[in-house]
């Protein structure tokens, strides 16, 4: 007969080994394939931390289940297990550890949140308009409009997002920013791009039949190139929609 203490020791050893191996493996994971902004970087650090912390939790349960399935089978006897109804220390430690983990994660998450979303002054502002099923951009300082989003590299950019019809969501994966465009109000988000280049973006909130194809392109360039590009843009918005009939089933009395 293996003693209860020995069962615990073997399982604990297996847990420790698997946790360390697993944690090393997931430490290299990346939440976004391409990281091109300060915000995406913060999110990726959080992702790695959560993944490393998840491994011991996952392994604790997996080892507990696996070890039990191997060693605690009934093997045909009709006997019952020991009549253990509770264990104060185990319960206390379990509660304490999970509570501490939660508080730690919350503190870390709250700092990341303030870092990403906290109100900050910006060097450059763009108004983002969503409508079924395209995006358009307005540069209030230059007084021009465009169909692609152009922003400077290394500067804090303030995006003010609005929608003409239904809810859309402005998402640029490489920047780790996502913000719904809500009809009737303005939403906002900040981003600091770290690498010049061209990045895809898309609508992340189901917005009707054209949702699947609602894409956008972001071009990040040096400030001088951006200014040159801005001077070539039209100072009139693209023609508003509204020429087409309202979608079928719309029953709003006029």
């Amino acid at each position: 007969m293996t003693s209860p203490r020995r069962h615990l020791l073997i399982a604990a050893a297996a847990w420790a080994v698997l946790s360390i191996v697993g944690a090393v493996l997931v430490a290299g994971l990346q939440i976004i394939p391409v990281i091109a902004s300060r915000e995406a970087d913060i999110e990726n650090s959080a992702f790695v931390l959560l993944s490393v912390l998840s491994v011991p939790v996952l392994m604790f349960v997996v080892v507990g289940l696996g070890y039990s399935a191997l060693r605690f089978r009934a093997n045909g006897d009709e006997e019952d297990g020991p009549p253990i109804h509770a264990h104060r220390v185990v319960q206390g430690v379990w509660l304490g550890v999970s509570f501490l983990l939660v508080i730690g994660l919350f503190g870390y998450g709250a700092m990341g949140l303030v870092d990403i979303r906290g109100a900050q002054s910006a060097d450059f502002q763009v108004l983002v308009h969503g409508e079924q099923w395209k995006w358009s951009f307005e540069y209030p300082d230059a007084g021009v409009f465009s169909k692609e989003l152009h922003i400077p590299v290394g500067e804090r950019v303030h995006l003010v997002i609005s929608s003409e019809d239904v809810i859309h969501s402005f998402w640029v994966p490489a920047f780790g920013i996502k913000q719904d465009a809500v009809p009737g109000r303005e939403t906002q988000i900040y981003v600091t791009a770290t690498t010049a280049g061209t990045y895809p973006g898309l609508c992340a909130e189901l917005c009707g039949s054209g949702h699947t194809g609602m894409h956008l392109t972001v071009v990040v360039s040096e400030r001088a190139d951006l200014e040159a590009w801005l001077s070539e843009q039209p100072n009139k918005p693209p023609p508003p929609k509204g020429s087409e009939p309202p979608p079928s089933g719309s029953e709003a009395p006029q």
Binding site: H7, I31, P33, E43, A46, F47, L50, V57, L58, G64, L65, S68, A69, F72, R73, A74, E79, D80, G81, P82, P83, I84, H85, A86, Q91, L95, V102, L105, F106, G109, A110, L113, I116, D165, V166, I167, S169, P173, G176, K178, Q179, D180, V182, P183, G184, R185, T187, A204, L206, G208, S209, G210, H211, T212, P246, G249, S250, E251, A252, P253
Partner: protein
């Protein structure tokens, strides 16, 4: 005349009459030049059809005479309880809680198969890049799958297993309000049918969340879904009241609250949540219906309405609803564990406390669905805290299960396999939930396949694994026959491998940037999506094994003894299946039903199998 006798035929005729009067009347009025829109015709037609159906089935034939002071036909009232062995009682307004339980359970599995078929259509569209069903077709299929599966998760365990078992497990003869109980069930067929035929009404493309303004411009199928959801909500509230009164007023002598089976505890918290939260979403959906049908502007930004308000109201119900779906599954799992581990349920009082804490906290976390919605900025912080806090009581479920299994004498019968599968799946669901509770990681992961994978691990892991564990465990009690162990194990392994092969890769798809709710995707996701589709078809096939096992065993399986699992809860003191009023004499309870490992102790006395 037999047509006028209460029953399914009269119910169908009543519904038809309702459509004729409601929809027909308004159509005539429109023909005569009145300004009436399609939505109004659908609304009145549906309301009168629902009334006609419920009256036709016989829901009011005892209440109405009673209300106006006429003598009530007590013979008919007793007859409504049904006679054991008569199959026709399953198709009638029968007041026996066991019949209603079976009605719920079988209906839920039929709905599960239908919704699963819609899932297969989704995976057919997504198997390769490009479009097969078309964008609108896909959105309708996706929305219908979601709406139906939510209903399955809401009604299957509490309505099916709960109705059948709770009165027996607490040692009484029926639910507190048997007629209300039957009404709760018979309110469901019409709305479910309406959702099933929504593609004929143009479909709906908002998903089950029905966010305006999209849901205000969508087709008539959208309105059908909203009306159906409100009806299911009413049924859910009636059923919740019934469970609470039954549990709090009708327990056998000696069964204090802290001696109740953990499954009954989980349903008690569930019913409380359903009672308190459902009216909020029914209100929100009714406001949305008013916007569509009566021209109000609650959620019309163009006329001062607020679309974020809808999201708050919707999630204020729909997050607790996740626990309305999940808690019964957790309860069923914890009920099964001690029986097959032959050890007392570990930390029973703490598990009860954790269910209650989950219930309370579930009302304080709704806005984590709205981290990128544009809600008030400061609100992210407290919601992130409460959302992460709810993992503490949820973790207790793992402590209880693992603590019971550790050092036990494990019997790997089919229900126990589902327990192990549950712990794995629900653990993955829980851990990935932390990534979505953490705002920095949620910003990039929300609205991607990471979320799809997460909630399938949670709801399938919590509810469906609990439903399968419970269905196998209580099959002998419900049907009086044993299921095939071999087919049960085949079902478990096939389902579990296919389920994990389907949903694990979806986490990766989400991290790689695949959005949820899209009919098409860039070619770089093609390989994984094909794999996921093939795995998903396997889930469906494995469920066919379950269906065959259930039908075949119910008809041909070996007779079950009263207590084939040597379990200690009261339902195993009745014969299998239990007689019409469950107990000859009501048992007396002396302890929690988890006295394993202490020879000679019983948790109750009396209530002998009759």
């Amino acid at each position: 005349m037999s047509i006028l006798k209460p029953g399914l035929l009269r119910a169908v005729l009543g519904a038809a009459a309702g459509v004729l009067i409601g929809a027909g009347g308004l159509t005539l009025a429109r023909g005569s030049g009145m300004d009436i829109r399609d939505g109004q015709i659908l609304a009145l037609g549906y309301l009168l059809a629902l009334l006609g159906f419920v009256v036709g089935i016989g829901a009011f034939r005892f209440w109405l005479p009673w209300a106006i002071g006429r003598p009530v036909d007590t013979t008919a009232e007793h007859a409504a309880h049904g006679t054991a062995g008569d199959w026709r009682r399953y198709f009638r307004f029968t007041t026996d809680h066991k019949v209603i339980g079976v009605q719920y359970l079988v209906s839920a599995f039929l709905l599960f198969l239908t919704a699963g078929t819609f899932a297969m259509l989704m995976r057919y569209e997504l198997a390769q890049p490009g479009l097969v069903l078309g964008k609108e077709g896909y959105n309708t299929v996706m929305s219908t799958h979601g709406a139906m599966m939510i209903t399955v998760a809401l009604i299957s365990i509490i309505g099916g297993l709960g109705n059948f078992l709770v009165p027996i497990m607490i040692g009484t003869r029926d639910m507190a309000f048997p007629k209300t109980n039957a009404l709760s069930y018979w309110l469901l067929p019409l709305p479910i049918l309406l959702v099933a035929i929504n593609p004929l009404l143009g479909g709906f493309d908002t998903g089950w969340t029905a966010y305006p303004p999209l849901s205000q411009q969508a087709n008539l199928g959208q309105q059908a879904y909203l009306m159906a959801f409100v009806t299911v909500g009413i049924s859910s509230i009636l059923s919740a009241i019934n469970f609470l009164v039954t549990v709090f007023r009708m327990r056998a002598p000696g069964m204090s609250l802290m001696r109740m089976p953990i499954f009954v505890w989980s349903l008690t918290v569930t019913a409380t949540l359903a009672l308190v939260a459902t009216s909020v979403v029914a209100g929100a959906f009714t406001m949305l219906l008013f916007d569509r049908v009566l021209g109000t502007s609650f959620f019309r930004p163009s006329r001062g309405g607020d679309v974020i308000l809808f999201q708050h109201l919707f999630w204020f119900y729909s997050h607790p609803a996740v626990y309305i779906m999940g808690l019964p599954g957790l309860g069923a799992i914890l009920e099964v564990v001690p029986v097959f581990a032959r050890k007392p349920l570990f930390a029973y009082p703490l598990a009860v406390l954790s269910f209650i804490t989950i219930g309370v906290l579930s009302f304080m976390v709704w806005a984590h669905h709205m981290f990128v919605s544009g809600m008030a900025e400061f609100f992210h912080i407290p919601i992130m805290l409460t959302t992460e806090l709810i993992s503490v009581p949820t973790g207790i479920v793992f402590l209880s299960a693992l603590g019971t299994i550790w050092m036990g004498k494990l019997h790997f019968k089919t229900p126990m396999l589902w327990v192990f599968g549950f712990i794995w799946a629900f653990l993955i669901g829980g851990i990935t939930g932390v990534y979505l509770a953490d705002v920095p990681t949620d910003i990039t992961l929300s609205d991607t396949y990471f979320v799809v994978a997460h909630f399938h691990y949670t709801i399938v892991g919590g509810t469906i694994y609990g439903l399968f564990a419970g269905s196998y465990y209580w099959f002998p009690k419900i049907t009086g026959r044993m299921y095939s162990e071999r087919l049960g194990k085949l079902h478990f392994w096939w389902f579990t491998l296919a389920f994990n092969a389907t949903f694990l890769p979806m986490f990766w798809l989400g991290i790689e940037g695949m959005r949820r709710r899209v009919a098409d995707y860039p070619p770089e996701f093609a390989g994984l999506n094909l794999w996921v589709s093939i795995a998903a078809f396997n889930i469906f096939l494995s469920v066919a094994v379950f269906v065959f096992n259930m039908i075949w065993s119910w008809a041909r399986g070996p007779r079950a003894a009263a207590n084939p699992w040597r379990a200690q809860t009261l339902e195993w003191r009745c014969s299998s299946p239990p007689p019409v009023e469950n107990f000859e004499d009501i048992p007396t309870v002396t302890d929690t039903p988890y006295q394993y490992g202490t020879p000679g102790t019983a948790a109750a006395e009396g209530g002998a199998a009759s």
